[in-house]
Point group: C2
């Protein structure tokens, strides 16, 4: 099926940033995609327009009741000079899963992917080319009906914006120190933890602030029922290598089903590295550390691909993991994913989508 | 202390709605209040301007990470023709409590109250005068920094908008049917349940949809840890009268500290009606119903004041309360609060703030 979108080109192209000024999520490309939803009419009027502010009534529901969902993915310039997306169809499928939880009407995933391809093609020159740089892509949906009643909105906007981003590890992969959080909870069974929605991130800010004050980079979240089972780290999924087996919390409804997480699991299985998706308690982690079998730990997500954990602090005690260095498995996974993303390795998993 | 705000009057006053077209939260007055926050500068540039759309970058954090808080209160025209606010200083205190949980800088509560008074005075003619109508007031704060990093915003807007609203009970107080929710969870200890923030409301929509499909008006929320202890009903606090004693869940961190709830407790104590704030399980409620001691139940909040519960459905069984009629205590509380709000009863609690 072919989708045709109206395209309004910018008249004032912005200056592109130098590689060393990229950072993350502060600079945006020349264009954006917008799709409107109106009850009774469905999603309509998909269009590419110059990057521009959004005009909303102050009573628009997004300002009051948090009915939002979003996604995060990247476009890469491969070593062959092609434009590559990494499993974008999975992001739009997850966006629809989030929509279902938040009572937002589902989008046409094919249409969304086609819109993204056209937008990326139009702003192709914004994809940075220096090593390990990329174009961060942020599709999101906001409830726009001007109404203060607590009910699903009758109007929405689906928007895609894009931001050129620098190398996450400009100075080499640096393992981080993580604080295990016992007071604040990110999500609970029956809540919105497995949806990518604003409220999950808003509720995480306080614990993040506490961790930062103590000199820790991120929070390790435990479950909301028993404050005992490991869920995520910051806004990443988490993995542990214990006595040769890689363990990650099973998707239980309160954990985000990460696309990087899923990709890691596939790579691990392909390499015949023992892997388990199961419930894992903080007590088990600490016990493994005491017995010398906690060999590695790392977070996984779109931004960093892998973020090795060099130290955990739990109930006042610090536990150093793998001498605070990146482990072999983390390095293998990082090299494999980035290798495929930048076209340096053969994509035996059929993950990449080349934008022609 | 005196606060002076720049006032820009509307040039095109809108037509005011007829009493029978008021509804809730769809019509807004001629003016709004805006206060900006910029890191390093603090809150600044408080101003009253014509009611108008907000212009925000599509990367503004409110669209992505749900960093929002809000309040809800009302202005009334009393039987003496005065303009009365009900405990507004409590709303701004709670707004600041929500701010603290959401890592939003606190506001000057005196300034906020003064801004509200000036705004209400300016749009005084928008307060409807028909019986049990009022002006609904919505102060809210949104994170406006254009940045996709997950961290507290460095820019915010505090805004007050106002909406004339009709009588909640135009056809008399009508008890509602409530579905006890076992699958979805509104909030959990350690989460954001006691803050008035968008994410709590976004996460409630799905259960509300399920309840509506089964013909129920609202969801009765149980706690997120054990799915056993009663927390709230819809977006109201909940009360039960069991064997002559009025019981409401104690504020435990995941329950909204309702200002109507607090007012009800004061009225009950003044009338020497036995009252308990404590943990209360759904098992106890059902048991009391079976023994014939569940005499009343009702929700309390700004919109309805009191919403009597005529029927509970739990695990497939329906439990009718007080023959589906409003109870004596609910009626007393409703009459007392609305009596004070509209100046029909002496305000022995010093709750009302008259706008001169």
């Amino acid at each position: 099926m072919t989708y045709t979108f109206k395209i309004e080109h910018t008249r004032i192209p912005k200056q592109k940033p130098a590689t060393d000024q990229l950072g993350f999520g502060k600079i945006f490309t020349d264009h954006m995609f917008i799709l409107d939803y109106t009850e009774g009419q469905g999603w309509h009027d998909g269009r590419i327009v110059p990057y521009q502010p959004i005009l909303l009534d102050p009573s628009a529901m997004v300002f009051h009741y948090g009915q939002t969902v979003f996604e995060g993915m990247k476009a890469y310039i491969t070593v062959n000079g092609e434009v590559s997306l990494f499993r974008p169809e999975r992001n739009f499928a997850r966006l629809n899963a989030s929509n279902a939880r938040l009572c937002i009407p589902t989008i046409d995933e094919e249409l969304a992917l086609e819109a993204l391809k056209q937008l990326v093609k139009l702003d192709r020159d914004w994809i940075p080319t220096a090593e390990n740089t990329s174009l961060y892509i942020r599709p999101f949906i906001i409830a726009t009906e001007p109404y203060l009643g607590v009910s699903p909105s009758k109007k929405y906007q689906f928007i895609i914006i894009m931001s050129p981003v620098g190398s996450y590890y400009a100075e080499g992969i640096n393992p981080v120190k993580i604080l295990v959080e016992k007071q604040y909870v990110r999500a609970v069974a029956g809540g919105t933890g497995e949806a990518k929605t604003g409220g999950n991130y808003a509720s995480s800010l306080k614990a993040q602030e506490v961790a930062a004050k103590e000199g820790y980079a991120q929070t390790l979240w435990l479950d909301g029922r028993e404050n005992e089972y490991v869920e995520e780290v910051g806004s990443m999924n988490i993995f542990f290598k214990i006595n040769g087996t890689v363990v990650t919390p099973a998707l239980n409804g309160s954990i985000l089903p990460g696309i990087t997480r899923d990709s890691m699991l596939q790579v691990l299985r392909k390499h015949n590295i023992p892997v388990q998706e199961r419930r894992i308690s903080i007590t088990e982690i600490i016990e493994a550390h005491k017995q010398g079998t906690l060999e590695e730990s790392f977070g996984t997500g779109t931004a960093a691909v892998i973020s090795p954990i060099g130290q955990l602090k739990f109930e006042g005690t610090e536990y150093v993991i793998n001498n605070g260095e990146i482990g072999e498995v983390a390095q293998l996974l990082y090299d494999t994913l980035t290798g495929i993303q930048y076209g340096k390795l053969e994509d035996v998993y059929s993950w990449t989508v080349i934008v022609k």
